[in-house]
């Protein structure tokens, strides 16, 4: 019975997925009805996840661990899922006949990610990752036929399977070196064998799979195309929920490097710097809002990695905090994108012109979200950056932090361009009015409040993430 309770959120999402599987079999689609159902399911799912957030225990022959760390991420995943589903009311980007499948795949994907964050067995991890990836492979091409973006799916798929091929090969090498695929065991064994080439190659290849999920340079190559090519809601899902899972996985896996192997840390530092710099620089020249956010997400992967590469519990806690903050802020921005481009087209930056008149609330949400992403206080994004930088400096990585800050300044430029569009530019042509319903208002205000609250009062949440990070050791 206790086992059942431990697995409750996952079970619930299985139930949701099944429900929509059934719906998808129906002949006559009923998008509005599906949406209501999906919201209810996701809401209950969130409640269930929150309710079981203090569970602890092991399942499935100890290859499935339920602890504070995993539960926090499950809450974040469920939260992200309900937001995405909530915004799927006007799913114009996807054929109405596929809506049921869309919800089905979303639930499956969330389920897979929940499994992922609790997995402590390489096999489980692999299977969960694949499950979530497959859902996404299918979600991406659902976009209503727009020839410009038809190549997205195949690119995503190809990169994805290559990365997972690399990862499983890496895992096989790890298995060969350490004779185990159980993560806690690996953590013990790996430091002793890290000198072997097989271990290193295995570790790097395995990490490549996770980095792929997080879209870290140079494993980012799918991100811009997918962000741009997928339907807005799907992009939102990838940008928010999927990021959480990847971050969780890397945090869990980073410990594998066996204490603080200096070479490993150096590698991570290089990756982090490369990712930040590349993402921010290329984002400077983007015109498409989603593509811009894709590059921004590449940069943010770098920031998250700063927290992780400290390999201390403080660093992990900060990384978790950062990830959560990123979820909130990124969703704020995507919410605005989905609302402004509610016919499902790809939003160009210049289309935001005059947003402050069309919808002051959305404009403010956008501004706060972007300022958060840029790391301007008093938003959660700033506090997150502050925390990860603090963690890095505690390990003495001054140079890394300076580069991080310089990058933050660069990133501010393109965020300001967007804000400028929303607040300053006069629209060149008449854009349709933005329809903002009551619930969107509520959510927007909630996001704004959350962004600022997390930024100013980080203490409570930070203490939770700290205890979560401690469970990793």
């Amino acid at each position: 019975m206790t086992d059942f309770m431990l697995f409750l959120p996952e079970l619930f999402f299985i139930f949701g997925a099944l429900l929509f599987f059934v719906f998808s079999l129906r002949k006559a689609p009923n998008p509005a009805g599906y949406h209501r159902w999906a919201v209810v399911v996701a809401a209950v799912g969130l409640l269930v996840t929150v309710a079981s957030s203090h569970q602890e225990g092991m399942l499935f022959f100890n290859c499935y661990r339920v602890d504070l760390f995993s539960q926090i991420f499950k809450v974040l995943l469920a939260l992200g899922t309900i937001w995405v589903i909530f915004s799927s009311g006007e799913l114009k980007g996807i054929d109405p006949r596929q809506h049921a499948e869309y919800y089905f795949l979303i639930f499956v994907c969330t389920l897979a990610m929940m499994l992922l964050v609790s997995s402590v067995e390489l096999l489980t991890i692999y299977v969960s990752i694949e499950l979530s990836s497959y859902s996404l492979y299918l979600l991406v091409p659902m976009r209503r036929n727009d020839d410009r973006f038809s190549e997205t799916a195949i690119k995503y798929f190809m990169v994805g399977v290559t990365a997972s091929g690399l990862m499983i090969f890496g895992i096989s090498l790890l298995f060969g070196v350490a004779h185990t695929t159980y993560v806690p065991q690996l953590m013990k064994v790996l430091p002793t064998v890290i000198a072997q080439p097989g271990a290193i190659v295995g570790l790097i290849l395995a990490l490549a799979g996770f980095f792929f999920k997080l879209a870290l340079f140079p494993f980012h190559i799918w991100a811009p195309d997918v962000y741009q090519g997928a339907a807005n809601q799907v992009t939102t899902y990838i940008a928010t929920v999927s990021k959480m899972a990847a971050a969780a996985m890397i945090i869990r896996f980073a410990g594998l490097s066996g204490g603080a192997s200096p070479a490993m840390v150096k590698l991570l530092i290089v990756l982090s710097i490369a990712s930040m710099t590349f993402g921010n620089l290329v984002a400077l020249i983007q015109k498409d809002m989603k593509r811009l956010l894709a590059y921004s997400s590449i940069a943010h992967a770098g920031y998250i990695l700063i927290g992780i590469l400290t390999l201390t519990s403080q660093g992990y806690a900060c990384a978790i905090y950062y990830a959560a903050a990123y979820l909130v802020m990124n969703y704020s921005v995507f919410l605005v994108i989905m609302k402004v481009a509610d016919d499902g087209h790809n939003l160009q930056i210049k289309e935001l012109a005059g947003l402050h008149k069309r919808s002051p609330l959305l404009a403010m949400t956008l501004m706060l979200g972007l300022f958060g992403l840029a790391g301007i206080p008093p938003t959660a994004g700033f506090t997150g950056k502050f925390l990860v930088f603090a963690a890095a400096l505690n390990k003495g990585y001054l140079f890394l932090v300076i580069i991080g800050m310089v990058n933050a300044t660069i990133s501010l430029y393109y965020y300001l361009i967007v804000i400028k569009a929303a607040y300053l530019l006069k629209p060149v042509k008449e854009y349709p009015a933005v329809h903002v319903d009551l619930w969107t208002r509520v959510v927007s205000i909630g996001l704004v409040v959350m962004t600022i609250y997390l930024g100013i009062f980080p203490d409570q949440f930070l203490s939770i993430t700290e205890s979560a990070a401690r469970t990793l050791f």
């Binding site: 990169v159 290559t162 140079p218 070479a263 590698l267 990756l271």
Partner: protein
């Protein structure tokens, strides 16, 4: 506060010096649009101030030097005090300032009547009076400096009073900036003293200088720097060109500020810390040289100009040069005495010139002469008195003071200074009477008798109509003329007054008075020399120098059939040299234009735009460009991207394996 009312001296000091400020505030804040009220407020307050000044002089005539001071603020070890130092010198100067300011303001009632900026004029006049009086009685050098600057500020406003005239505002700016140049030296000197000595109280400073409380090097450097202030304010070489330009202001302003009082502030400051200066022979030598050069240079300039006010302006500069010479050669009393008499007769000259200018609407002496300047009898007589005083003719005041100076100069080891002084006296007399004869005996007589008659009658008419205006201008002039007549005879009293306070240490400020007493050896020596040992030969030489100048002027301009061109017109090059102020202005202008505007400023501006700002913009462009460059990594070709990814992983592996 109680002390203020209990002590009548303090009360009179505070009231007298600060009443003008009050009047300025009232005028600026409330009565700007009511010129009549403004002017009355200002005149009344300055009259009260003058009365206070005179009564202080009388009351403290035989009293020891008084010092009041309170802590203004302190920072670290610096204690900046605010206080008054009432000794004979300051009382004398206070009286001069009060009286002349009062007369000038009364005069201005008529002169400025109908001017749109009447209220503003009186506000600035009050500002000036306030600043000047406070400067005179300042207890510390810093306070003196502060009001010195305020005086400069008032002068800036008053020179540029007709600000719609470009030349006026230009002249105001020039005056301020040139003064600033000197003041920076002054300021640096003060800072140096502040650092090394820590106290800027005037008596303390003098005391320390005399008792060798200051190292000689510091003394010399700081006194030289402070002397820069004198150079600036008293228009000494090489900063003398602002003063002639300052004549752009209304004539009463020229009279008050730029001849009688403000420009004398430099000389006053020199005499104020005379013991301090005299403790450094090097500084004294420099000052003597500068004073002489100034005196000669400006006299020559005065010889060629036809502008009434310009003549007096150059003359002022040269007389200031005399004063500096006197002080620099140790003639404390001679210098101060000349300052006093000069204040009287130069104000007189300017104010009478003002009457002419007001009447004929021109500054050109030839035109005034032609239009019948001599018909204005009272001003003509007064001007003649002033010119005689300036030329040092007995029994006018200038005679006594100039004799005193020449005597002091004669006592210098090198006779060259004396010779220069004599030569200057000749030139002074020459240019003064050149002007007088131009107006009195114009070339070709007075133009068109008929017209002149008409003019005279209309003048009469005007006089009747504006009698009030004429008399407000004439009365102060006559008073000053009277003063110029009698002031010379007060030499002994004044000398006694100045010397007495030095010789008899006061009970209240014993150390200070002591300081002065010791310092006064040089000063008194010179003065006594002048008084006691002044040989008849020197007197004869001095008087004959003046008479010689007048004679030359008569020969050239006065006598029948005189060429009225001046002997200098035979030497066009020299004429040009004098007329262009020895090319000093051109030199400055060029220097400023090439060095500052065309040189540093444009260089720095270009640097700012191109290098610094361009660098910043360049960084931005570079950043964006590198973004563009990196974006090629994200090519559309999938396999290129995959290759990148694999290479990345491979590089990582290689890094570890190797």
């Amino acid at each position: 506060m109680g002390a203020l009312f209990r002590d009548p001296v303090l009360f009179a000091t505070v009231l007298g010096t600060n009443l003008p400020f009050l009047s300025m505030a009232v005028i600026l804040l409330f009565t700007r649009s009511k010129p009549f009220v403004s002017s009355r407020i200002s005149v009344c307050s300055i009259a009260v101030s003058a009365v206070c000044a005179v009564s202080l002089l009388v009351r403290l005539f035989s009293a020891p030097a008084l010092q009041y001071q309170t802590l203004w603020f302190s920072s670290d070890k610096l204690n900046i005090t605010f206080g008054y130092y009432l000794d004979p010198l300051s009382l004398l100067m206070l009286t001069i300032v009060g009286i002349i300011a009062c007369l000038v303001q009364i005069y201005s009632l008529g002169y400025m009547a109908g001017d749109p900026g009447y209220s503003r004029y009186y506000a600035f006049q009050s500002l000036f009076a306030w600043a000047m009086m406070n400067m005179v009685i300042a207890g510390s050098m810093l306070q003196l400096f502060i009001f010195w600057e305020m005086v400069g500020l008032a002068s800036y406003f008053l020179i540029g009073f007709y600000y719609e005239k470009w030349s006026a505002s230009q002249a105001g700016k020039k005056a301020f900036v040139m003064n600033r140049v000197g003041d920076v030296g002054f300021f640096l000197g003060l800072i140096l003293l502040l650092i090394a000595f820590g106290n800027l109280g005037i008596p303390e400073l003098n005391h320390a200088a005399v008792t060798h409380g200051l190292p000689q090097g510091l003394l010399t450097v700081s006194s030289l720097l402070i002397f820069c202030g004198v150079i600036g304010k008293s228009a000494q070489f090489p900063l003398l060109t602002w003063l002639p330009d300052a004549m752009e202001g209304p004539t009463p302003v020229s009279a008050l500020l730029h001849s009688a009082t403000m420009v004398a502030a430099g000389v006053y400051m020199f005499s104020r810390i005379f013991p301090f200066f005299s403790a450094s022979p090097d500084t004294m030598a420099v000052a003597l040289a500068i004073g002489t050069v100034t005196m000669l240079l400006s006299s020559t300039m005065a010889m060629v100009t036809y502008d009434l006010k310009q003549v007096w302006a150059y003359s002022t500069v040269s007389q200031l040069g005399y004063m500096v010479m006197a002080l620099a050669s140790g003639g404390y009393v001679a210098g101060v005495f000349h300052l006093t008499t000069h204040a009287g007769f130069k104000a007189l000259l300017f104010l009478t010139s003002g009457i002419f200018i007001h009447e004929f609407h021109t500054n050109d002496m030839r035109i005034i002469g032609k239009k019948g300047g001599r018909k204005l009898k009272i001003p003509m007589v007064c001007m003649a008195i002033g010119a005689l005083a300036l030329s040092g003719v007995f029994p006018f005041s200038g005679f006594f003071s100039k004799e005193a100076i020449l005597t002091v100069l004669a006592s210098q080891p090198s006779k060259i200074w004396y010779a220069a002084g004599l030569f200057g006296a000749v030139l002074t007399a020459y240019y003064s009477f050149r002007l007088i004869f131009h107006i009195l005996l114009p070339k070709g007589g007075i133009e068109e008798a008929h017209h002149e008659e008409h003019g005279a009658s209309s003048h009469e008419h005007e006089e009747g109509h504006h009698g009030y205006i004429f008399w407000t201008m004439a009365v102060p002039v006559m008073i000053l003329a009277g003063v110029s007549l009698v002031l010379g005879f007060t030499e002994h009293t004044l000398e006694h007054f100045l010397m007495r306070s030095i010789q008899v240490p006061g009970e209240l400020v014993a150390p200070a008075a002591h300081a002065v007493s010791v310092a006064a050896h040089v000063a008194a020596g010179g003065a006594h020399h002048a008084h006691e040992a002044g040989s008849p030969l020197l007197t004869i030489l001095g008087v004959s120098a003046g008479l010689l100048g007048i004679a030359i002027a008569w020969f050239e301009y006065g006598r029948k059939g005189a060429s009225r061109n001046g002997f200098l017109s035979y030497f066009p090059a020299i004429w040009k040299l004098f007329d262009c102020r020895w090319f000093l202005d051109i030199f400055y202008r060029k220097g400023l234009d090439t060095l500052v505007y065309a040189g540093l400023t444009s260089l720095f501006t270009k640097n700012d735009r191109r290098v610094i700002d361009g660098g910043i913009d360049g960084i931005c462009v570079f950043t964006e460009g590198s973004g563009r460059l990196f974006s090629f990594l994200q090519s559309g070709m999938l396999q290129f991207n995959l290759l990148l990814m694999v290479l990345g992983a491979g590089a990582a592996v290689l890094y570890f394996v190797i």
